[in-house]
Symmetry: C2
């Protein structure tokens, strides 16, 4: 379906569209050396959030954050957003205000603004759709294609925290003053887009491809590889799985590795670069933000993504994991 959309839209692009459907954001030519970035993401109640688990402000924050993350993934700086909200007339009007406050809070925290919107009635679930613009120097823009055999595969930060937060919500675990649980819940409810990290990577002009991790490494890395026409080998013991997430996995009899591989909504950055550039890039990110960069594998020529266990044998290839957090109804 997505590829069908891409074919349809791709056949009718105008000359000003430098990047069309299929990447984290579209890019349009302007009259100066910057490109205009444009992205959208829609959150649907019951699929992407539940009102029992998230306040209106949480919902708004997340709707904006996932779009900020898309602009980050292109190496850009966010500018202004518009947001549409559909909600039943029998819900309190206060909910729309709270969602707007969350949208604005996330935008403001990252140098962007909510510049307009549309509020409509609906007989169905609450729907929040955000479209966000951004700017990127053409020479700094990073795309999903560009990864080359031999490149190191890197991620920022830690994986699995958002999935663990979702598990807490599903299991009815409250933080009860435990800072680790509170952090997992926060990671799920109020993800932090890696804008400054992404800009540090983009400015260094050493990375070859980048995207954000929204659906989990096991789903997202194959997309980057497909766009780049390459394959990948991941050394699973290198995955920077969040420690509280790993410990929660132990408590509920789940594999910590699986949480790191398939937990969605971390919004960390996945990028590739020549091995010789790793230390410069990791240094630039750390100096700008304090966020760690971890090398988790390498790009190979042969198509397909191989996840290798500690014994060096493939755990599985590409799809086939259970998914924690791709959607509440999935």
């Amino acid at each position: 379906m997505v590829s069908r959309f891409r074919d349809l839209a791709g056949a009718a692009l105008t000359a000003s569209v430098v990047v069309g459907p299929g990447d984290d954001a579209a890019a349009l030519r302007t009259r100066d050396d910057r490109l205009l970035l444009l992205t959208c993401d829609m959150l649907v109640e019951g699929v992407h959030f539940r009102r029992e688990w998230a306040s209106g402000e949480d919902i708004g924050w997340k709707a904006m954050a996932v779009n900020l993350s898309d602009i980050a993934a292109m190496g850009g700086e966010p500018a202004a957003a518009v947001a549409s909200i559909a909600m039943p007339g029998d819900l309190p009007a206060q909910l729309a205000s709270e969602i707007a406050q969350g949208l604005i809070a996330a935008a403001s925290a990252h140098g962007a603004a909510l510049a307009g919107g549309d509020l409509v009635g609906s007989p169905g679930p609450v729907v929040v759709d955000v479209a966000l613009t951004g700017w990127v120097e053409e020479g700094s823009m990073l795309r999903r294609h560009g990864a080359r055999p031999g490149d190191a595969i890197c991620v920022t930060g830690l994986l699995g925290a958002s999935a663990a937060g979702l598990i807490c919500l599903r299991e009815g675990l409250t933080d009860d003053g435990c800072p680790e649980l509170a952090r997992l819940l926060q990671a799920h409810r109020r993800p932090t887009p890696r804008l400054r990290e992404a800009q540090a990577i983009a400015r260094a002009r050493l990375a070859t491809a980048m995207m954000d991790l929204s659906d989990g490494l096991a789903d997202d890395l194959p997309r980057l590889c497909a766009e780049s026409g390459v394959g990948a080998r991941i050394a699973c013991e290198r995955l920077p799985v969040d420690s509280a997430s790993a410990s929660l996995a132990g408590r509920i009899g789940t594999d910590a590795l699986e949480m790191g591989l398939t937990g969605g909504e971390d919004y960390e950055l996945l990028f590739t670069c020549p091995p010789a550039a790793v230390s410069d890039l990791a240094g630039a990110v750390s100096a700008a933000t304090g966020t760690a960069v971890t090398v988790i594998g390498e790009i190979v020529e042969k198509a397909g993504v191989c996840f290798l266990g500690p014994d060096g044998r493939a755990i599985t290839s590409g799809q086939g994991f259970d998914h924690f957090a791709l959607g509440l109804l999935h």
Copy 2:
């Protein structure tokens, strides 16, 4: 609610936002003398369309057209759009393709492109949200504020055709080869955004305020007046009510005037200008597009909108009409 949103967002705008919430589109400063326009509009099944009455392509066309109309209303040229579609998993995937085709057809017909999108599952009605960017020379941009006492109030084209098309659908009238009915149905299903007309008006730099007619004159004119801090007097006998719409009104025992005043979704342009500029503006629009411009009243100092009947007495003031086409569920 909308004003609450405006207050919330307005307090957190960044310096680059020249026009924030409350106009047809937001406007952002760029590095050249053009402003970037950004708008969004969301259509919800059962509120804004019914699948029994509109094909997927009609739905997509309309979702794009209403956004193109917002860019027109600012005097801008559309550039690229992103679209999010939510739909239940049990609907045929073909529907999403058809909606995408409609989105692309409307964009392509007006020099714009669909540059990206998001397709998500939903337990609720089909929702289509489009966000569209555009460009406008700063000196040519038209806003809802700016109308001054003494200005002539003008509309492009004819009013009431879309409302009449909706009545046909409600009453189960088919065109049966009748070109007039077919035209009314087309006006409702596939509205034409007045981009070229709007650009001719904007380029002339003679108009003082402009907006598009999405909810009907009786609702929209008070908005323009409120933004401009003025009032208006409309001579109702001057309203250019579509003749087929008027004749349908007669057949079903409705007032043609009411259809012209309160019928929504015409997407004609409502603008104001000094009386001396009317003939130049009407000439520019007609020369560029063949579309007629009609003077329907004048801006006055005193707040409030007065609709005057043929006898010169007020029919009603501002709100208070029955509404034909503000929404299927309204």
